[in-house]
């Protein structure tokens, strides 16, 4: 396994023009929820990075997270895997099998010790010595602890790896726990969701490559750029909520007119995720756009949180102020402008300084 080349070298060898690379970076900026004008700064940073080795371990899971990633539309999975990272082990996607597959994992752990990114999907069963999920005769716990030792950081993909998810739901017959319940001495980033939004998975990897560090996280270890606001905050039906227009059943006049689904059990007000803006299926829509309330799949214990169709007891305290700002006062505009420091940006433009990735780091 040779030392990985930089992304710029790799793209140049493939005859990819600078303009194409800029277009790619514009898509990345959109994905990372950064100011759209930062594509040039991202290009400068990404061009210099060496592609990191990625080891992906799948534990007690349904493969939905991998399904989600392989349907990621921005950028394509191929460019993601072959250009941005070196995916050295993923037992569903790799061509090798059996001993050769496990050898690839061991080689990558040795060669890139301390530098590789460890991605994990699925929870880890602890009951009865962890016998409920094993790979190549070894328990998930054993594999996780071994791979975590040499990892630069761990990304827990999906609600199972992040919070225990469905296997952890009552009565939790296998004693399933989250990655963060076991590993305490490594940076862990939780990309929750069942499954998580594919663009969020790739967005976090892109952020790591661009800035050389993990993005800012919320109190549950989730990247703020994607989980900083609730579904309700950014829902296009939010004005209906403000106007008191609620659908009472799934087939009444209100439902047909696209009114708020709060009374039908929508968990949007308490769920932090980017579905309302990033959307699903190539940006086609998200559950509320299809007429069904949010079930809150990116929050801990979502499966045990009561009926998906019972309304939330009361609106979250801060919801009204946030959304009024968003819809009425035009925080649309504030979000558009991004968190970037206006003064600095203007100064940079006036003095013809180039916006760098360090300027974006300060946000």
């Amino acid at each position: 396994m040779k030392e990985h080349e930089t992304l710029e070298q790799r793209l140049h060898e493939q005859g990819v023009s600078r303009r194409s690379f800029l277009k790619f970076c514009a898509a990345m900026a959109t994905m990372m929820a950064l100011p759209p004008g930062s594509a040039t700064a991202i290009a400068a940073a990404l061009a210099k990075v060496k592609r990191p080795s990625v080891i992906w371990l799948s534990f007690q899971e349904c493969t939905g997270c991998t399904e989600s990633l392989t349907r990621s539309h921005s950028p394509t999975l191929e460019s993601m895997i072959f250009d941005m990272v070196s995916l050295d082990y993923h037992h569903t996607l790799q061509a090798a099998s059996g001993f050769a597959a496990e050898q690839a994992r061991e080689d990558a752990m040795k060669e890139f010790n301390g530098k590789y990114l460890l991605l994990v999907d699925g929870s880890i069963p602890l009951k009865d010595g962890g016998v409920y999920s094993t790979i190549a005769g070894r328990t998930n716990l054993d594999l996780l602890e071994e791979a975590a030792k040499g990892a630069a950081a761990i990304v827990a993909v999906g609600s199972c790896a992040a919070f225990g998810g469905i296997p952890n739901a009552n009565p939790n017959p296998t004693g399933a726990v989250a990655v963060s319940d076991i590993i305490k001495d490594k940076p862990i980033i939780n990309i929750s969701g069942c499954p998580p939004i594919p663009a969020v998975i790739t967005g976090v990897l892109a952020h790591y490559l661009t800035f050389g560090a993990l993005p800012a996280l919320d109190n549950l270890g989730r990247p703020k750029a994607f989980y900083g606001e609730t579904i309700h905050d950014r829902c296009y039906r939010r004005p209906m909520y403000e106007q008191g227009k609620f659908a009472k059943t799934f087939d009444d006049e209100g439902a047909r007119n696209g009114w708020c689904l709060y009374e039908l059990g929508c968990k949007g007000p308490t769920t932090h995720n980017a579905c309302a803006t990033t959307k699903w299926n190539g940006g086609t829509g998200f559950p509320i756009e299809a007429g069904h309330g949010c079930i809150g799949c990116s929050e801990p214990k979502f499966w045990d949180a009561g009926s998906f169709y019972a309304p939330l007891p009361a609106p979250a305290a801060d919801v009204t102020t946030v959304a009024k700002a968003a819809v009425i006062a035009g925080a649309v505009a504030a979000v558009v402008a991004g968190a970037i420091d206006r003064g600095k940006k203007t100064k940079a433009q006036q003095s013809r300084e180039k916006l760098t990735v360090d300027d974006l780091k300060g946000e």
């Binding site: 990819v16 023009s17 600078r18 303009r19 194409s20 800029l22 277009k23 790619f24 514009a26 898509a27 900026a29 959109t30 929820a33 100011p35 759209p36 004008g37 040039t40 539309h73 921005s74 950028p75 394509t76 460019s79 950014r234 829902c235 296009y236 039906r237 939010r238 004005p239 209906m240 047909r256 007119n257 696209g258 309302a276 803006t277 990033t278 190539g282 940006g283 829509g285 756009e289 968003a326 819809v327 009425i328 035009g330 649309v332 505009a333 979000v335 558009v336 402008a337 203007t346 433009q349 006036q350």
Partner: protein, 134 residues
């Protein structure tokens, strides 16, 4: 049962608030662009638009005199709207999915400019060709 038995209702395309906010944002960017030359970009994918509002935005901005197409890692469509200096830039991937949808306030969208690296590469190729024909 025939198609006529299914009642059809025309959706209400009236803005529910976000469209006006965005048009005001564009107006303030244009004002700044005229005064200082500062360009701006708006990421449409980050906004909570209803499908109807998105269509209303297309109608509100209209189409102007110039359009261009990039053919690189999928197509990109760029056109100047009815308001000079306001460009609508949509990048697609090779599968035809939208990977970035932007409003750009500028004389010309940045990505249309020839890139210095590509120009240098081009010159090298041209010189190589010339050296072969001597």
């Amino acid at each position: 049962m025939s198609l006529d038995d299914i009642s059809i209702k025309v959706a209400d395309l009236h803005s529910i608030g976000s469209l006006d906010a965005l048009l005001n944002e564009i107006a303030s960017h244009l004002t700044r662009f005229i005064a200082t030359g500062e360009t701006a970009m708006i990421d449409l994918k980050s906004l909570p638009f209803s499908p109807a509002e998105y269509e209303s935005l297309r109608t509100a901005l209209g189409r102007g005199e110039v359009s261009a197409r990039l053919e690189t890692i999928g197509d990109s469509e760029l056109y100047e709207t009815h308001y000079s200096g306001v460009w609508w830039v949509t990048h697609y991937n090779v599968e035809g999915d939208v990977i970035a949808d932007l409003i750009e306030i500028a004389e010309v969208p940045a990505i249309l400019h020839s890139q210095p690296e590509d120009v240098r590469d081009g010159l090298e190729r041209l010189q190589h060709t010339l050296s072969q024909t001597k």
